[in-house]
């Protein structure tokens, strides 16, 4: 199998000051299933985005099938024979399955400006059939299907142009065993036909079982290429992290501890996304909500803080004897909320760190109606120091900070307010490892002080590492509960998730 299909040489890519890729070289042969593994932020997704034409490289060259390969965009890459299934939701809701499969290719079925639906549906059915997917009707709206089925539809879309190279980016986490089998079968078949697959996953077992070669990335650099006979999970893990994994990254203890006192409770909470959600958050507890992004976990956070209101059921703060009505009253009752969507919902980007941190604390900082600039500065500097926010001064604009430091600003407001209950939606999203570990230490400290934390996260290792209890949500309903003292594993959570 010396037939090289794709050759990548010296790929470099930077986002502002962050160097995502440094001199990456990869050669993929015909008939190969190549695994790509590395921690979050190691550059796996960046590599796949560049190959599939969704992003441009800063420097370096790519050769595909012996020709210089410089895709203009994803459509161009598709024409040249490279297709990709992305990590996030890649289907368009509100249109049919067939329309999703042929999005951008409607011309194939158009006569005199009219799209021939029947022909399109027939063709879509044929593709799904070829992949062994039987229970999907191409004529139905895509919204009728679950997350997993939609992923399979995306795979069908990618396969339509019979690509020579298929890139699969973290798709299997969304698939059940049945769905995975469809995918594995497809991968094997492609390899047999002399095509190739670039397979990205967090699941080491899966990669070791299905890939011929594994490429390990760390901090944007290729660490090693391993062939199948050299696979050993401990070696690979060590190569990924670059050191022995430290004990204190997450919480050190393995016991489930919290007081009896209930600080936040949901009873039969129902809205258009979630259904009959019941749970109690106790004093000194870290409670995790885990599930796929569309499962409704983010809505639970918004409902708990009072940003969204339940259609049925109620959210209460039993220790305060209050009902959750809106974000203002929740805040006054000592509840804090950090949104998943940091730049859009949480921060005022074009404003100073000072104004961003002090914004919800003016009532503490004023004498009469005048807000004292001195008190304000002291208050802000205190948060900047405790959280070690890297900045030239508190007058620096938040838009110029890195993701991790932005998140610290969003945290700082609530730490300063001494909130008793913190609702954190994806608290470490897009944050580097150093800041992450600082956040985890802070959460552990807050727990010891008797504060309660609600973590909503799609990152399984994080909820397992930090939470006393984990509630798993599937299709808007709680589908399982696990406690820290029982054995919580990623696999057991995934079982509940899908």
């Amino acid at each position: 199998m010396s037939d090289v299909m794709l050759k990548i040489k010296n790929l470099e890519k930077s986002y502002d000051i962050v160097r995502a890729l440094r001199g990456v070289n990869i050669e993929v042969s015909k008939g190969e299933i190549r695994g790509l593994i590395g921690e979050n932020g190691s550059g796996k997704s960046t590599v796949s985005y560049i190959i599939s034409g969704m992003q441009k490289t800063d420097s370096g060259t790519m050769t595909f099938m012996g020709e210089i390969y410089e895709p203009k965009d994803a459509i161009d890459a598709g024409k040249k024979g490279i297709a990709m299934v992305v990590q996030e939701m890649g289907t368009i809701s509100g249109i049919s399955v067939a329309e999703n499969i042929f999005v951008g290719k409607e011309d194939l079925f158009t006569k005199c400006g009219v799209v021939k639906r029947k022909k399109m549906n027939k063709e879509a059915a044929r593709i799904l059939e070829a992949l062994g997917i039987r229970n999907i009707n191409p004529n139905k709206l895509i919204d009728a299907y679950t997350f997993e089925e939609r992923k399979l539809i995306e795979i069908a879309r990618a396969m339509y142009e019979s690509p020579k190279l298929l890139i699969i980016d973290e798709t299997t986490t969304a698939l059940s065993h049945k769905g995975r089998d469809v995918l594995y079968r497809l991968m094997d078949q492609m390899a047999k036909e002399g095509k190739a697959v670039l397979f990205i996953s967090h699941d080491l077992e899966e990669l070791m079982e299905h890939c011929n070669v594994l490429t390990i990335l760390r901090d944007g650099e290729i660490i090693d290429h391993l062939t199948k006979e050299k696979y050993e999970s401990n070696v690979i893990k060590k190569l990924m992290v670059g050191r022995e994994i430290e004990g204190d990254y997450y919480r050190a203890d393995h016991t489930c501890t919290y007081d009896e006192e209930i600080v936040l409770e949901m009873k039969h909470v129902t809205n258009d996304v979630v259904f009959d959600i019941n749970f109690k958050l106790h004093r000194g507890e870290i409670l995790g909500f885990s599930g796929l992004s569309e499962s409704g976990i983010h809505d639970i956070g918004r409902l708990a803080f009072g940003i969204n209101k339940p259609v049925y059921g109620e959210v209460t703060l039993p220790s305060k004897g209050k009902k959750v009505k809106d974000s203002r009253r929740s805040m006054e009752a000592g509840v804090g909320y950090v949104s998943k969507n940091r730049d859009r919902e949480s921060l005022i980007l074009e404003d100073s760190i000072r104004n961003n941190i002090a914004i919800n604390a003016y009532d503490l900082l004023k004498s009469g109606i005048i807000i004292s600039p001195k008190k304000e500065k002291r208050y802000v500097d205190e948060q900047v120091n405790t959280l070690r926010i890297k900045c030239s001064s508190s007058e620096q604009y938040v838009s110029t900070l890195s993701g991790g430091n932005k998140q610290k600003v969003a945290f700082g407001r609530w730490i300063g307010m001494d909130a008793d209950v913190l609702i954190l939606d994806c608290p470490t999203r897009g944050v580097d490892i150093g800041v992450k570990s600082a956040m985890y230490q802070l959460m552990t400290k807050l727990k010891k002080e008797g504060k309660s934390i609600l973590i909503i996260s799609e990152e399984l290792s994080e909820v397992i590492g930090m939470c006393d209890r984990v509630l798993v949500v599937r299709d808007g309903q709680i589908s399982g509960e696990m406690r820290r003292d029982e054995a919580m594993t990623e696999q057991s959570i995934i079982e509940y998730m899908i």
Binding site: S327, E345, I348, N355, Y362, I369, I370, I371, Y397
Partner: protein, 311 residues
């Protein structure tokens, strides 16, 4: 630190503009600009625009605009004149003018806050209604009050009123929740809401303050002209808008909305029109020049704020 230079320059442009405009017109008009008579003229002209701008900057800070200003001023003056004509009490007239200004401010604010991104729409509708009332009354004939009331039109009093307004709004804008929250809403209204800011309340308060400022300006306008017609206050909302943008006020609001925008912009805009008139430029040409300058400024302001608008 390239960005800091840029910020520094854009911060100073309004100051530079004031100096350039004053020096330029003082020179081309052979000093006529700075003569006592003309200074009095300028102060009278600046008075209304600045007083209202000091209120309206709270609205612009949260990223909206108010189009009712001229119509409201006209109606306040109309009500005041009618009360003076029937009762002769200046105090009662003043009280009613203020009450009307504040009431319309609250209504305008409540409507605008409900329309969120399209806040100028209810403002526009209200403008038509207010102008319609004025035209209806104006068509019956000009309403005049006695010339003796002109004694209330005192430059000293006006300077005092402006001084108080400057001090008050300076503190309100930079050192109280009213100013800080309105700028935060302009910066990111979603985040502001999630942080427990009562977005509706603070938006309405901004309009209320503007309504109050308009009513005070209306009182002085009434005793100065002593006659109310369909055209009273016409176009004033645009004078305020031009002044604020000349002062560097970003249309998207947010942290770059500064107190000095209102103060400096009013001076630049007023001296510019006054200077061109003194220089002997025809009024229609002045309109043309103002339009082109305004377009340039809006363009620059929009370019600058592009990064500020994540939506």
């Amino acid at each position: 630190m390239k960005t800091d230079y840029k910020k520094l320059i854009s911060d100073f442009i309004p100051y530079i503009a004031v100096v350039v405009v004053i020096v330029f017109f003082a020179v081309v008009t052979d000093g006529k600009l700075l003569q006592a008579d003309n200074m009095k003229n300028i102060i009278n002209k600046i008075f209304s625009v600045m007083l209202i701008s000091l209120g309206a900057m709270f609205i612009y800070a949260h990223g909206a605009m108010d189009l009712t200003i001229g119509g409201l001023l006209g109606n306040c003056a109309l009500v005041g004149s009618l009360i003076i004509l029937s009762t002769g009490s200046v105090l009662l007239a003043l009280v009613c003018i203020v009450a009307l200004g504040v009431a319309i401010g609250i209504i305008n604010g409540a409507l605008a806050a409900n329309f969120k991104d399209l806040s100028f729409l209810p403002s526009l509708c209200l403008m038509f209604i207010l102008r319609g009332i004025l035209q209806y009354m104006g068509n019956k004939g000009t309403i005049k009050i006695d010339a003796s009331y002109g004694s209330y039109d005192n430059v000293g009093v006006k300077v005092l009123v402006i001084a108080i307004a400057l001090i008050l709004t300076y503190y309100l804008f930079d050192y109280t929740k009213l100013g800080k929250y309105n700028r935060a809403i302009g910066g990111n209204d979603i985040a502001s809401g999630q942080l427990g800011i009562n977005v509706f309340k603070y938006k309405v308060l901004a309009y209320t303050l503007t309504g109050f400022a308009v009513s005070i300006a209306a009182f002085f306008s009434m005793v100065r002209s002593r006659s109310i017609s369909a055209e009273t206050g016409s176009g004033l909302e645009f004078d305020v808008m031009v002044a604020l943008i000349f002062g560097g006020m970003p249309l998207s609001g947010g942290s770059r909305a500064r107190f000095h925008c209102a103060v400096l912009g009013c001076i630049t805009a007023t001296v510019l029109s006054n200077g061109m008139t003194l220089w002997g430029i025809k009024s229609e040409t002045i309109s043309l020049i103002k339009g082109i300058l305004f377009l340039m400024l809006v363009y620059l302001s929009y370019k600058k704020s592009k990064g500020v608008l994540p939506r």
